[in-house]
Amino acid sequence: MADLATFLAYPVSLLTIGGIYAVMCLGLNVQWGFTGLFNAGIAGFFAVGAYTSAILTTPAHPDYLGGFALPVPVGLVAAMLTSGVVAVFIGWLTLTLRSDYLAIATIGIAEILRLIVKNEDWLTNGPRGIPGIPRPFEGLSPFQNNLAFLLLVLAIVAVIYVAMQRGLNSPWGRVMRAIRENELSARAAGKNIMARRLEAFVLGSMIMGLGGALMAHSIRFIGPEATEPLLVTFLVWVMLIAGGSGNNRGAILGPMLIWAIWSLTELVTRQLPSDWALRSAYIRVFLIGLALQIILQRFSRGILAERPPEPVPLDDADREGPGKGGSVG
């Protein structure tokens, strides 16, 4: 049993982190894949979720806010709520404008959240971060706990996948795609563009917040490095675009694949002398950036291309057409 545990430890952790990235990718897929909203501040929503759950579930500490010691599921739900509130604010400000403004506003809020995380010691313990974040299933042995946590992550991925798949194939999902493809004609068909966009943005951000919370519980620690735009925002973008934006299965496959490449190459570079280990970290970032360019130019549909929702019999479409969108504009 012990041998099996050592043997499986790495794949289990690989799948767990990959699964958490899949949660974030599914969130980004609602925003970018379905609706065409560019979120450059994934790290911000990730941080809000991670710190919310960390603060609510850890025992009291003299240096920073805490001591609520609430159960982990409460932390996860609260993480989704706080990320959602931030998203409502940003979305309300920028969703009427072109997507570039949303990109700029999201990167702005992410930078400010990063400053808050770094500087507000009373809240987040500043650069030292919050240690000792509990995991669910604490009673089990370390390996069983890791396994149970993996199953929890995979279950969450599955639930989000099913929900998103249903959403995509529902009238709601079709309106989203319509807005992305041709905003004017969607508006002419009486769809409420602003409301649908806000829904997609808030929903996606809540899922990202959940991803952040899961990451905090997974590694039992959250510090300001975790909000570094590179490791969160950029990696999630590459994962989704590689997997196939607009395709929920792609939003799961992409992160699993890219995370496997990312951490296996780290295993290799860690063997190098320390000077070269540091340098090869930069080469890895450069290559991931280059991979993104190649995918954008040559394989823009990703590994799993987006598939249009299943066609709806005509009379069905008629019935739900006019009623769905609500008031114009």
Binding site: G108, I241, I283
Partner: protein
């Protein structure tokens, strides 16, 4: 009063000049290529690092290294456009934005690979500022502002006196009309990168002169520079200058003890000022002060 001018207003004008140089590029690129250029900050970083070996290694003065740094960034900008942005020209512009996000990290990774993660300075030691009747100005601050003004005047002459400059403004104002008058779009795009890249390179060198050079200096400029471009009105280079100055001065003045003796806003939250101004502008007047375009 003198303390206010010396430690808040003057640094604000210096910072504002640097922001303005970056914001002009962002605004021009947005106006002509229609996307928010996320790699602009890292192009500034590149400018600072191109000058670094010339100053530290070969003993150039910073001012002699400045044109080299600008030229280096121009070449890199044109190369990046050819390799990564041009192939995406007929795709939705948001795709180019995604590509520029990737370029930003590639640039930073390349700089970190070549120069390492440590911070650098052009000139070690402390130079005495010039003091006139209690007014203290560091020599480098005078140069930063003067050279920025010179660059802006040169830009103004280019945009108003040359055929290329006029074509550039025409393309920004009305692309379809500009095209049917026979303007060669790709040539104008290349010139956009010459101007945007050159100014970004200069801004990076000035930033390096003012503080220290790290691989994140440019990235941290991105938010205030975008805020300045939006404040001035997208596609309006003169608006970007005003926007840059307003944001720079507002950021520095936010740390002045307006009420009581403590800074009004902790200096670590300077970039929140830029964000707040940007948000207010987006709500109140998205076209910016100079009636730019809302996309």
């Amino acid at each position: 009063m003198l303390e206010f001018v010396n430690f808040y207003l003057i640094p604000g004008i210096v910072l504002g000049s640097i922001y303005a140089l970056g914001a002009i590029g962002v605004s021009l690129i947005f106006g002509i290529l229609r996307f928010a250029h996320f790699a602009h900050g890292d192009m500034m970083t590149l400018g600072a690092y191109v000058a670094l070996p010339l100053v530290v290694g070969l003993g150039f003065t910073v001012y002699a290294a400045l044109p080299v740094a600008m030229a280096g960034v121009v070449l890199m900008a044109i190369l990046i456009d050819r390799l990564f942005y041009r192939p995406l020209r007929d795709r939705p512009t948001i795709i180019v934005l995604v590509a520029s996000f990737g370029v930003a990290l590639m640039l930073r990774a390349a700089i970190q690979f070549a120069w390492g993660p440590h911070s650098h300075v052009y000139e070690k030691g402390f130079r005495k500022p010039i003091v006139v009747e209690g007014l203290r100005i560091a020599e480098r601050h005078i140069w930063i502002v003067l050279l920025s003004v010179a660059l802006v005047v040169a830009l103004h002459l280019f945009l108003t006196r040359t055929k290329t400059g006029k074509a550039m403004r025409a393309l920004s104002d009305d692309p379809d009309l500009a095209r049917i008058t026979g303007i060669n779009t790709e040539r104008i795009v290349a010139w956009t990168w010459v101007l945007g890249g050159g100014l970004a390179g200069a801004a990076g060198v000035f930033l390096g002169m003012d503080t220290q050079i790290t691989t994140l200096i440019g990235w941290n400029m991105l938010l205030p520079v975008f805020a300045a471009a939006i404040l001035g009105g997208i596609g309006k280079p003169y608006g970007a200058i005003a926007g840059g100055l307003v944001i720079g001065i507002a950021e520095e003045l936010s740390a002045y003890p307006w009420i009581g003796t403590t800074p009004l806003l902790d200096p670590t939250y300077k970039s929140a000022v830029a964000f707040a101004i940007m948000v207010a502008m987006l709500l109140w007047r998205p076209s910016g002060l100079f009636k730019g375009r809302v996309y």
